[in-house]
Symmetry: C2
Subunit: 209 residues, 2 copies
DNA sequence: GGTCGAATGGGTCGTACGGCCTATTGAGAT
DNA sequence: ATCTCAATAGGCCGTACGACCCATTCGACC
């Protein structure tokens, strides 16, 4: 019996390419794909894989955000382009069973899939200890999924170069005070402190355009 | 006779996955891969494909940089995660024959490979017109070229989330005043007014990472 | 019917930010 | 030998920004 998996990634080339490569491995079978977080949730309503492979950076709903809403039903492996510690911790906190960089070799990915399918939790070295810390302080993490629609609109404007309070207010037809309030809320949710960092996060999360 | 291609991308999953997916297409054959720009140059010394597939974002030597050194020997298709206009123009200027987002469907990629292999230049919709504009006005937003090395370092930091004057100063080992001076110079050259816009431009120009 | 969060808005306060001007040093170009 | 410019740094000033308070409205959910 082969391991059935679902792949979620917004880049078609990686999604389809990886899908075909994994399918060619005897004991692995790709039974579904999704181009963003929401699509992943939809797909999982009808089919139930043994393992989920999700990218962090996805439009609409990030991989981390999707994982939080899944409550770890099927075990998930999070893959990302930028293997940063912060992301790894967020992934662990969101209930991911594994974490891999997209630069990892295919055999490693296959091994990770088999390990996770058999119930193992795989995180490099002492990540487990960090997860415990996360549990003790279940505070801030997530972010993108926690943002409201209006907050995302604001980020989108910021990422397109509209940085002044007045300019933003004019384009959204709200008062300058409301703009500052929304920004304050965004800062708190994303654990940042100013507009420049907001732009960085917006683009990293794919909120632009 | 099938079309022989070489794939260059630093993310193993995409490189191997795409390689396998393309290889399964009857008239396409992957004869080599590379994990970065330099490796691509090495590979091309021993083998000569009909088409090259290169990612822009790669360590050591970017896809664009590699293309410049190749002088368009075999035609190349540039693929990227963020389909920004600036990158598309740079790719065209560097001698690329085609440009595609990683979000493009596989059939489109295959079609692009076939077209390029037969000598066509393919750029989505009216990119060709833009290229002509480029020739007419070789300096359009050459603000990027006008930036000094130090200014680019500053932008890189900004784009990575280091936004405070003190934080930037500490990382560059200069005074806070010098940081503000450099920023003022950047604002003038790029015709912007604050750090948030600087982050937008930095990423648009590919100064990040 | 009551609670909660999203979206809207107000006020105050301290400070970091950006505009503007000047100055010194050293490297590279003419 | 002169000149330009990048990189460094200081001062001054006005204001936009971010932190911390709070209030109202409306819809969703229980």
């Amino acid at each position: 019996m082969s391991i059935r998996i679902v792949i979620a990634d917004d880049h078609t080339m990686l999604r389809e390419g990886l899908s075909q490569a994994l399918d060619s491995i005897p004991d692995i079978e790709v039974i579904g794909t999704a181009a963003d977080g929401r699509e992943l949730l939809e797909v999982l309503e009808s089919i139930t894989p043994d393992v989920i492979l999700v990218d962090i950076e996805m439009p609409k709903l990030s991989g981390i955000g999707a994982l939080r809403r899944l409550e770890g039903a099927p075990p998930a492996i999070v893959v990302t382009m930028h293997a940063e510690d912060a992301q790894r911790r967020k992934a662990a906190a969101a209930g991911a069973a594994g974490f891999l960089s997209k630069s990892a070799p295919l055999p490693d990915l296959a091994a990770a899939i088999r390990a996770v399918a058999s119930g193992e939790q795989l995180f490099d070295k002492d990540t487990t200890a960090e997860i415990l810390d996360q549990h003790r302080q279940p505070i801030l993490d997530e972010g993108a999924a926690a943002l409201t629609a209006r907050e995302r609109e604001l980020l989108k404007l910021l990422a397109s170069g509209v940085s002044g309070t007045e300019d933003i207010a004019d384009q959204l037809f709200i008062s300058q005070k409301t703009v500052k309030n929304h920004l304050a809320s965004i800062y708190e949710k994303l654990a940042i402190t100013d507009r420049a960092q907001a732009v960085v996060e917006a683009i990293r999360l794919g909120i632009n355009r």
